[in-house]
């Protein structure tokens, strides 16, 4: 090959066609799809987040629990906030606190934060979606539990030995 010759080489029409197809799929379609879903889709990782003092957040969650507490299960309070309200969850080694009882098809505003380590907020069985939690960040996201059922949660980011015990529960009623 002569020096520099590779840049002047013509490209076979089939390969040119593939580059055009690939560019359309990757750069145009895939990138546009993310925006289209922001406009039309109902599931977006979109909300607000605040720096929050862990102790202050813990107190906020405790107020919420006392206000709407309806019972107890597995040593955890069960909390049934009214539809449309703000609901709170706290993640710490090794629990999701409290257990929530919600109404299907109603919109809630979820507040969730970790007060110690990084945790994974995962509604896993049945599978809904997953969010990343940081110590000291309060996530605020509206959401709508659509189908009734019992939803189990498990932490899905390693938070130390004992991580496997970090479970939670959301009950969605008709």
């Amino acid at each position: 090959m002569a020096p520099g010759a590779w840049w002047e080489e013509p490209v076979h029409p089939l390969e040119r066609a593939w580059v055009v197809i690939a560019a359309f799929i990757a750069v145009v379609f895939f990138s546009a799809m993310m925006l289209v879903w922001h406009a039309l889709g109902q599931q977006n990782v979109r909300g607000r987040a605040y720096r929050v003092d862990p102790k202050a957040y813990q107190a906020e969650v405790e107020r919420f629990v006392q206000q709407y507490r309806v019972g107890e299960e597995a040593g955890q309070p069960v909390v049934a906030p009214p539809p449309g309200s703000d609901v709170y969850m706290l993640a710490q080694r090794f629990r999701f606190y409290p257990i929530l009882r919600l109404k299907a098809g109603e919109r809630y505003v979820l507040h969730v934060a970790s007060i110690d380590y990084l945790h994974g907020f995962s509604i896993t069985q049945p599978h809904v979606w997953n969010l990343q939690l940081y110590p000291g960040y309060e996530w605020v996201l509206p959401f709508t539990p659509r189908e009734p059922g019992t939803y189990h949660m498990a932490c899905n980011d390693f938070c130390g030995v004992g991580h496997e015990m970090m479970l939670g529960k959301i009950v969605v009623e008709r």
């Binding site: 390969e15 895939f30 990138s31 889709g41 599931q43 909300g47 995962s122 997953n130 996530w139």
Partner: protein
């Protein structure tokens, strides 16, 4: 005893092989295989815990860390450094600029790796996984080990650049870099960026662990960590693709249909690929990272790199098709593929590596990295599915493939039990393929968390729950796949070790006779005028594109059925 010659001419390839380069390649390749063995042994605990809960959670976390560090960092980086010395010195017919620096790099890497292994093994309750996010804190020697290893690897990369420079200065190489060296060069540039960011995260972590810094910001640390964590895998990507082109050349005398297009694709990696790391931060709090930031990085910028990969997805099979057509396999669309040299394990490794990486590893990377789709993938076993499809079925299998040439041509030993070697890529490739498919289904459909050792009992806690029956069935598929992959990996290590220790030494005449490269045809030409067209590859790529779009849209459909969020 006579001093061994300073350099020899390879009877098979005609390259000038300098002893200093050869020794460095050998040492790094041996260290790589040792790491592969350790990582594979650790995989036994990981596999049987996830499959059937065979080991306690503490052991799982510990061996998972060992598995990840050995496989993702030590095996791959030692092999890549060997590859850089091979590309910079042997392919350019020049002596390494400074063998002493090469040995210093090697010593630092070995020392660093041993410190990390020791830190993981001696701290059963205080060791860190591959994502060692503060405030989780490891012991100082853990961070120090990673720093030493990274400094060693940086020295090795520096030696590569110096050697390429020397080849031009002394005129042992003129004209543009050969495509394989060009790819290795891109990998080396990515490596410099990656390892510097590695220092940026691990030096403060070391100081924090040693009590010098009072605290680390967990958010900024994770953000910066992924400037190291994922780019370290992009080095693999570039190196793997360089190896693919090399394998196409060695196994069937292949050459790329267009030097221009292949090189442009490598340049796209250089420009855009490390920005793709932002896809690790798709489900981060949006007050901390804006939607716009996520979209710019993982939308347009990352997809430029995806375009680069899709171009290689044409050019690599295209290289094989060109080679085969030049060798006379011209009938129909796929005669070139069907009648490939399947008896050669390097060829099977190449084909399986390209196919599995493309269909499983690559597509899932794009999907998992898409802002909204990530909500279904984040930290589930589907992510393990993705990176076993890339690093294991792709990179590792490609590196295994090239090893079948390293053994006769560099170690000059005949591969023992060559018949077994023919089965090795299939055992390994099919095993990893099954594992990947099962993990993806388990993650996306059933939300099975990664790094979860006790999904069967949850320590008997009151909030423990049962999984649907399909989960157990899929875990069995993953388990059997993992077992096949372990057997394939074990067979690879066994054959390599046996060959290096006991393989029959090859003379120049034997090498010329038994390892002759395919007659690269009478046609020495390049480019569209002189090379045959590749219609078979074009059809395969259309099938791939259809599969890709189907998977992508299928994932959006799946997401659309989840609870509305963020509205």
């Amino acid at each position: 005893m006579a001093q061994p010659a300073e350099a020899r001419t390879c009877p098979v390839t005609g390259f000038r092989v300098h002893r200093a380069a050869e020794d460095l390649v050998k040492a790094n390749a041996v260290a790589a295989v040792v790491a592969l063995l350790l990582g594979g042994l650790a995989a036994i605990v990981v596999l049987f815990t996830r499959w059937m809960g065979a080991f306690p959670p503490e052991a799982f976390y510990q061996y998972l860390a060992l598995h990840a560090w050995n496989m993702l960092i030590f095996w791959i980086l030692f092999f890549e450094i060997a590859l850089l010395y091979f590309a910079g010195s042997i392919l350019l017919n020049t002596r390494p600029a400074s063998p002493a620096v090469g040995w210093l790099a090697f010593a630092l890497m070995v020392l660093g790796a041993l410190m990390v292994e020791r830190a993981i093994l001696t701290n059963p309750l205080n060791h860190l996984s591959f994502q060692p996010y503060p405030p989780l804190r490891g012991t100082p020697d853990f961070y120090l080990g990673t720093i030493l290893f990274a400094v060693g690897a940086l020295l090795g990369v520096g030696l590569f650049f110096a050697t390429v420079h020397k080849a031009y200065r002394e005129g042992t190489h003129t004209g543009p870099l050969p495509l394989v060296v060009f790819g290795a060069f891109v990998a080396a540039v990515l490596a410099v960026a990656t390892l510097l960011v590695g220092a940026l995260v691990f030096v403060p972590a070391f100081l924090w662990s040693a009590g010098v810094l009072p605290e680390l910001n967990p958010f900024l640390w994770k953000l910066a960590y992924w400037g190291f964590g994922h780019p370290s895998q992009q080095i693999n990507l570039a190196a793997m693709i360089a190896v693919w082109y090399l394998l196409a050349q060695l196994t069937v005398g292949g050459r790329t249909p267009s030097e221009k297009v292949s090189r442009a694709a490598f340049i796209l990696y250089l420009v855009a690929i490390n920005l793709g790391s932002a896809h690790h931060l798709q489900t981060e709090p949006t007050g901390a990272l804006s939607v716009g930031w996520k979209w710019i990085n993982t939308g347009y910028l990352m997809h430029l790199a995806v375009l680069g990969s899709m171009i290689h997805a044409f050019a690599v099979p295209g290289s094989v098709e060109v080679g085969q057509r030049l060798r006379g396999y011209r009938r129909g669309l796929f005669d070139w593929l069907v009648r490939g040299p399947w008896h050669n394990p390097a060829f099977s490794s190449l084909v399986l590596s390209v196919a599995l990486f493309g269909f499983l590893g690559g597509t899932t990377g794009v999907i998992a990295g898409t802002e909204q789709l990530n909500m279904k993938w984040h930290n589930t076993t589907a992510i393990m599915g993705h990176f076993h499809g890339t690093v294991v079925a792709g990179t590792t299998l490609a590196f295994m493939g090239i090893t079948w040439y390293v053994l006769p041509l560099i170690f000059r030993r005949r591969v023992v039990a060559e018949r077994w070697a023919r089965w090795q890529p299939w055992l390994f490739g099919i095993g990893v393929g099954l594992l990947v498919l099962a993990f993806m289904q388990l993650g996306v459909r059933y939300g099975l968390p990664r790094k979860q050792p006790d999904i069967f009992r949850f320590r008997g806690l009151p909030l423990a729950f049962e999984w649907p029956a399909e989960v157990y069935a899929l875990l069995t598929v993953a388990g059997i796949g993992g077992l096949l992959a372990l057997l394939g990996g074990g067979l690879f290590v066994a054959l390599v070790v046996a060959t290096v220790l006991f393989g029959k030494r090859l003379t120049d005449d034997e090498l010329r006779r038994d390892y002759a490269l395919p007659k690269a045809a009478a046609n020495p030409g390049h480019g569209v005028k002189e090379l045959p067209a590749v219609p078979g590859t074009f059809v395969l790529c259309l099938v791939f594109a259809a599969f890709f779009l189907l998977m992508y849209l299928g994932n959006y459909w799946n997401l659309s059925r989840a609870w509305p969020i963020g509205g």
